[in-house]
């Protein structure tokens, strides 16, 4: 049987543990051998076996663990030490070991799961179970400032790659027994865990079931982190609009939780997913609510403006210069005509050329190693701006138009929505090049029809604007905080009143 087992595990070398469905053999040597086989000991260098002899009850034992993800100090102090020094003869193993938490597992398979998660397994002669000692210790960074969603006013903690730190950051803000942290394994080979957070007395059960169903229906070997999980669980994978919100701010996640949303967390993800998401959740930023009412709404207006500027300025330039020259006041028209005189390209080509250049600068700026970062600025500003104009490749006004659009696009904070806006911009530019304002309007109307038909986990994308629901009407503008007394009705929360 061992031979067959070995052959099989050779065939699928990566997961020998799937063949260990049987229970733990009371024979100490057999069990230990099974563990060693499972982890390819001693080829696998960080798999550690510590043999010992328990004093008092006089039994052989072994502690097996992966030393790179386990806290060796803890095992030493609270397990190995008391076991060896034990003198009493009638005593349970649970009473010898002083480790903070431990449990028993009856199959090798279950035990390996725990070992993979950084815990240690204690095998004892003559027992048909394995003791699991909780001592996991994965390396990671500490809680730092958010990189992508920085605020001037408000908390400056961000999620990091350790999921338990992240949960603790959430628990720190909601000290309530109704905050539930549900976990489930979503991948078959890597056994990635996803943690679903919600408030039991607020979140809608149907929504919860929907999310659970979708998370558990995944049939894949590995999902490393939330950015990948997002693409597994979203409804329209080819859509230009995002339908799951991705944020690295625990305070933002908590404010969503308190409204009845569901938050997903995962190991190795310095962020969380918020479901369901509407257009407005991408449009808003954490700071909108931290700033006082007039200031918060002022930034909202600015952001909406930048939305429109990003999408429309270049397209309007193309449309106006190509089709609707009458729209421009005569003096300005003459100025534009004078600068365009020497440029050999039609306006559409000119704009597309500069837009692509701008996108290249942005992409290169992201990827460039920090020491040569300033080069990008010089290349971008001087060569593409100044020199292109002097070489009569583009007219100066095009540089202004494209720069304005590009600058405004940075005001759209959310990464996904930022891409959406940037991509839509090209759609409008081409529509404007083909049919002027008429084409732009056609694209706009079709886009609106498409946008309202989107749904994120059953929630219409533009709600509560339309279809309207009972809510605090936090859409384009927000209301004064005491007046935001309702949770969003489109989530169908169990308790809609907040205040």
């Amino acid at each position: 049987m061992m031979k067959r087992l070995f052959m099989k595990s050779k065939k699928k070398q990566i997961s020998p543990k799937t063949d260990h469905e049987q229970g733990v053999d009371p024979d100490f040597d057999v069990t230990l051998e099974q563990f060693k086989k499972a982890y390819f000991y001693p080829v696998n260098t960080d798999f550690t076996v510590r043999n010992l002899h328990i004093g008092g009850i006089n039994k052989r034992a072994a502690i097996v663990f992966i030393n790179t993800i386990t806290d060796i100090q803890v095992i030493n102090e609270f397990a190995i030490d008391p076991l060896i020094k034990n003198q009493e003869q009638n005593i349970l193993i649970e009473d010898i070991i002083t480790i903070q938490s431990m449990e028993t597992k009856n199959t090798i398979n279950d035990a390996t799961l725990d070992i993979n998660n950084g815990n240690a397994a204690l095998i004892i002669e003559g027992e048909s179970k394995v003791y699991i000692l909780n001592a996991s210790n994965f390396e990671g960074r500490s809680v730092e400032k958010p990189d992508n969603e920085s605020v001037v006013k408000g908390p400056k903690e961000a999620f990091n790659e350790k999921v338990f730190t992240n949960i603790s950051l959430v628990r720190k803000r909601i000290r309530d027994k109704n905050l539930i942290v549900e976990s489930s394994i979503i991948s078959k080979r890597s056994k990635n865990m996803v943690y679903m957070l919600y408030l039991k007395d607020i979140a809608n059960e149907k929504l919860l079931d929907n999310v659970r169903e979708r998370v558990n229906a995944l049939d894949t070997d590995a999902i490393q982190n939330l950015s990948l999980l997002e693409q597994y669980i979203e409804e329209r994978k080819y859509s230009i609009f995002p339908s799951v919100l991705y944020t690295e701010r625990p305070d933002r996640a908590v404010s969503f939780l308190e409204d009845g949303y569901i938050v997903l967390l995962m190991e190795n993800s310095p962020d969380c997913l918020v479901l369901p998401a509407t257009f407005w959740s991408f449009f808003h930023s954490a700071e909108d609510h931290y700033l006082r009412f007039p200031y918060g709404n002022f930034t909202r207006i600015l952001r909406m403006l930048s939305f429109f500027i990003t999408i429309f300025t270049s397209a309007i330039y193309v449309a106006v210069v190509t089709y609707h020259i009458g729209m421009i006041p005569p003096d300005l028209l003459l100025a534009i005509a004078a600068t365009r005189e020497k440029v050999p390209f039609p306006a559409l080509v000119e704009i597309v050329l500069m837009e692509i250049a701008f996108e290249l600068i942005r992409e290169a700026g992201l990827r460039v190693p920090t020491p040569i970062g300033p080069t990008i600025g010089i290349v971008g500003a001087l060569i593409l701006g100044q020199a292109a104009v002097q070489a009569n490749l583009v007219s100066p006004i095009v540089v202004i138009v494209v720069a304005l659009g590009g600058l405004s696009s940075f005001a759209v904070g959310d990464i996904s929505m930022n891409f959406t806006v940037r991509l839509i911009r090209f759609l409008f530019i081409f529509a404007a090049g083909l049919f002027g304002i008429y084409g732009m309007t056609a694209v706009f109307v079709m886009g609106m029809f498409y946008m309202v038909s989107l749904k994120s986990f059953g929630v219409p994308y533009l709600s509560p604007l339309t279809p309207s629901y009972q809510s605090s009407k936090d859409t384009l503008f927000r209301r004064a905080i005491p007046k935001e007394a309702l949770r969003p009705g489109y989530l169908k929360p169990k308790d809609i009143k907040k205040r």
Partner: protein, 362 residues
Amino acid sequence: MGEPKDKIGLKEYTAIALFLIGIKATDDVPAMLFDSLKNAGWMGPIISGLIAILPLFLLLDIAKKYQSKNSIDIFYHLLGKYVGFFVLFLLWVAGFLYIVLDTATYSDIVATMYFPRTPAFVLYAILVGVSAYGAKRGLEHIGSVSWAVFPYLQATLLFAIILTIRHGNSGFLFPIFGPGEWEVIKESTMSVSIYIDFLYLFLLFPYVKSVKDFKKGTWIAFFIALFNLAISMVSFVMIFDYNTAMSLNYPYHEAIRSITIGFLTNLETFFFPFWLIATDIKFAIYFYINIFLFGKLFKIEHFEYIIPAFATLILFLGLIPESPTFSVFHMRHFFGQILSPVFFFLPILLWVLANVKGEMRK
């Protein structure tokens, strides 16, 4: 899609109704009224509106009486299987022809006023294509889009009207009754078909959240539309005087060409996209209602699949009339005069039958 799954709310329904009727101020309906009513043209929508209150009231009453029933079934129930089918079929044919003529008019507006050098076929095809796409998305989404954009469109319309009035001369409004009181009333009566869209909207009442919302929405839309029509026609008379207004086919588009604010002298390209959005949504609704009716008549469950075929048919039919600015204008005028009595008498007939049958059941 098929039948709407979710019902639409009050806001969405009102916006839909307003798009159907309010936008008529910007096509050639004002021209038709000016033709016969001279400078009293702006009274046309008010007087015909007053007349339209009766059929409208009766329709809403029927909707209230049969709130649990489907609107199509009401026709069958009241008129019998064959007559009911026949009447609905005629309504469908009328609606279809109306769409053909209307799309022809609107694409003619775009072609003559804004894109004289672009082939009319392309402009027409884009208009029909966008509207067909909207119709295919279904009633809930048409409603949502309508409500999402409506406030901005209404604001720009009012803005244009205010600017027009500012440039206008109120003396052009007098004599207030134009060709004479009797003439005004007579001609206005013939144009009550401006509001015939409510008869088609009646078909949608089971898909509005409640009959109460349907009633409320209908009245709100009716009065806002009436106001829009009247005030914009007042502004046209004030800026052009009736002689010019009579000879202009699309006075709104001429008006926004004439107005200025400060250093901006050509505002039409600013107003044009807003008007175009309204147009696309309006035809999306028309398409939807028409195909919905067709689907109901011939028991086609997933009627959205015939939308592309219909759109193509409408496109080619609408391209047939030569020089649409004149020919379609006259056809529409003639058509409107036929439909006016239909809009007036059909609800009365239905209501009387509903009451008679209701009593018989008791």
